[in-house]
């Protein structure tokens, strides 16, 4: 499906972002080292997830890669071209190929604009369509994300969270992007609505041939949606792996701890587990050596002094689905984490869920309509 020799659609090269920190009484303000020397290639057509806890730098990395903020150091390459070195006009044109869906559907839509204008604005910015054509295009987009064209005359506050997220997705699609960044696209939504939006994103990805870069902390959503996962800790990638390899057999101690922390899928799978102690340290003064050493259950003296590089440990090249880990002792620790705890659904639940889905398909149009009334 994905050619290994193909040039990555998007690439981060030693990307670094430092934010000015709080000013201290004496001395210079301490910089927050949000992203520190990250290199990463996104392959055309894949879904790559950036996962980590608050303060891991995953959102900042996503935004840097979309050219939404300038890096402190390092480069972003889009289809092999250095984004930072492009002339302004080309850079603007390129940005249209990169769409973004934000976490909070309440804060990311202008309350004074009608939905048709919100979705139509990116089309208008391209400038080559008549007003009627823009309107038609916006209607088509609204229909495609499961809303009705007449919803275009309403304003964001008239919609539920899930519907607003659909509007945000329609807007992101309006500039015909090739790559979509979802910055926690479903974490503000209720579980049942979250599932609708996850399915919609997957359908759109297939239909428009999109590449998805997903920033998320929900491990279930990541397992479900992604092809590969980059696990971040304090501004760096500690493990990069295909999703099943990571969830079945995480190699980095932090990835192991993260997966062990995920809540149980079943009350029958309860068991004692080793939990991480303490909090993620401050990004203004990340620990020396391996940044995870202050919380790592397997820490040894060298970890406190020498920072491990992200090295390839399996597979024929990272671009071909191999994996990489940044730990001095990963080979000895392999198997120390059992991976995510999966549980088979009970037969009664599986049976009834199948009935539920069969009935839903029979009763409803293909896409769940957000409100009553036939979709034209």
């Amino acid at each position: 499906m994905i050619l290994s020799g193909e040039r990555p659609i998007l690439e981060a090269v030693a990307l670094t972002k430092h934010f000015a920190g709080r000013r201290r009484l004496f001395g210079r303000p301490a910089a927050v080292r949000a992203v520190d020397g990250v290199s990463l290639r996104v392959r055309r057509g894949e879904t790559l997830a950036l996962v980590g806890e608050s303060g891991s730098g995953k959102s900042t990395l996503g935004r840097l890669m979309l050219d939404l903020m300038p890096p402190t150091a390092g480069d972003v390459l889009y289809a092999g071209r250095n984004v930072g070195a492009l002339p302004a006009a080309e850079r603007r044109a390129l940005r249209r190929e990169l769409g973004i869906v934000f976490q909070d559907p309440f804060a990311s839509l202008n309350p004074r604009m009608s939905v048709a204008d919100i979705v139509g604005e990116p089309i208008w910015l391209q400038g080559d369509l008549s007003r009627a054509d823009r309107r038609a295009e916006a209607s088509a987009l609204l229909r495609r994300v499961g809303l009705r064209p007449e919803h275009g005359d309403r304003y964001p506050h008239e919609f539920s969270g899930g519907q607003r997220q659909r509007i945000g997705i329609a807007r992101a699609l309006a500039s015909r992007p090739k790559l979509l960044l979802g910055d926690e696209p479903v974490s503000a939504l209720d579980v049942s609505v979250q599932a609708q939006v996850v399915n919609l994103l997957e359908d759109l990805k297939a239909e428009f041939g999109l590449t998805l870069l997903v920033v998320a902390h929900g491990l279930g959503v990541i397992r479900h949606m992604s092809d590969r996962v980059a696990v971040m800790y304090l501004g760096q990638i500690v493990e990069l792996a295909p999703v099943d390899a990571l969830f079945d057999d995480p190699l980095h101690p932090y990835a192991q701890a993260l997966l062990a922390s995920a809540p149980n899928p079943s009350p029958r799978a309860r068991k004692a587990r080793v939990l991480l102690e303490g909090d993620i340290p401050s990004a203004t003064r990340p620990p020396p050596g391996c940044r995870f050493h202050t919380r790592c259950p397997h820490v040894r003296p060298v970890c406190r002094e020498l920072q491990p590089a992200l090295e390839e440990v399996a597979g024929g090249g990272l671009a071909a689905g191999g994996r990489a880990v940044a730990c001095h002792f990963w080979a000895e620790l392999a198997g120390a984490g059992a991976g995510a705890r999966a549980a088979l659904p009970s037969p009664a639940f599986a049976r009834r869920l199948a009935l539920f889905e069969a009935r839903s398909k029979a009763a409803a149009p293909a896409e769940p309509a957000p409100s009553r009334g036939p979709a034209p």
Binding site: E53, S54, G162, D190, V191, S192, V193, Q194, A195, Q196, V198, N199, E202, H217, G218, L219, G220, R223, H224, M225, D244, A257, L258, A260, S261, A262, P263, N264, P265, S266, P267, R268, A269, R270, R273, L275, L276, E277, D279, I280, A340, A342, A343, S346, A348, F349, R351, R352, L353, A354, L355, F356, E357, R359, S360, A362, A363, P368, A369, P370
Partner: protein
Amino acid sequence: MPEPAAAPVLRVEDLTVRFPGVPAAVVDGVGFAVGRGRTLAIVGESGCGKSVTSLALMGLLPPAARVSGRALFAAAGGGVDLLSMPPRARADLRGNRVAMVFQEPMTSLNPAFTVGDQIAEAVVRHRGVTRAQGLARAREVLDLVRIPAAAERLRAYPHELSGGMRQRAMIAMALSNDPELLIADEPTTALDVTIQAQILSLIAQLQKDTGAAMILVTHDLGVVAEVADDVAVMYAGRAVEAGPVTDIFDDPQHPYTIGLMGSMPALGRRTGRLATIPGAVPLPADLPPGCRFATRCPFADARCAAERPPERAFGPAHRAACWHAPLESLGAAA
């Protein structure tokens, strides 16, 4: 396994909450019980009434809310009805024998007072001890929730603590008077997953040690699977299904429970598309007179929309309110 019929610490019957101007009851005839040392999870999505239920029990709803039903709290020293008791008596109970942990510790701790002062205040208020004794107790409970360097943290302000530490401080405050009932409303929702795991295991351990009964309000079925003994699933103000946690996960009866569990992405290998519940929760004015889930339920028929389904038993302690359960009796054909 449910414990033999020891008198529950709290038995709620027919709890109903109405707000002026809202046509439908926000909580409509909800009943449940929780025993000593046990955890009841109330699970549901936004607007299902789970938080209003917990606030009603604590007497923390705005005065305009009209609350009816009974909430029999049977702790050492005789039983009382939390809903009908005078406000002063309830204030004596609150933070004392019934304590609450909220979702957002940053907004539920007072930013202008140190953590030690806030915990000590609760102890002084209910135990009539001196401030020094209150502070000594505060230090004890901070130790109990495993806050490192508890003596120093007594003098810390809430903003000086991390999210996980703040939630520990909230739990310490809730535990400071040895409550018999702890109500925790989304206690780990604002936290990262490694911190959530720490807090859940801490709560479970403390509950085991103190024997307190706990009501855990959550939207997260993973958290339910992790810590609950019993579960009540709420939808649009009603408890649609309730029972022991293994019954709910192994033998779910209500279509909403099934749809909710099916929409949760699993940690195991991907099996296909997520199940979805179509649409969204209707506005109170649009709720059908019968089953409130009827507008979104693929099994709903005319009776569902018109007549409220009665609760029926599907096990010794397992009940569900659905006309069509068990669903196998229907078959897949429309």
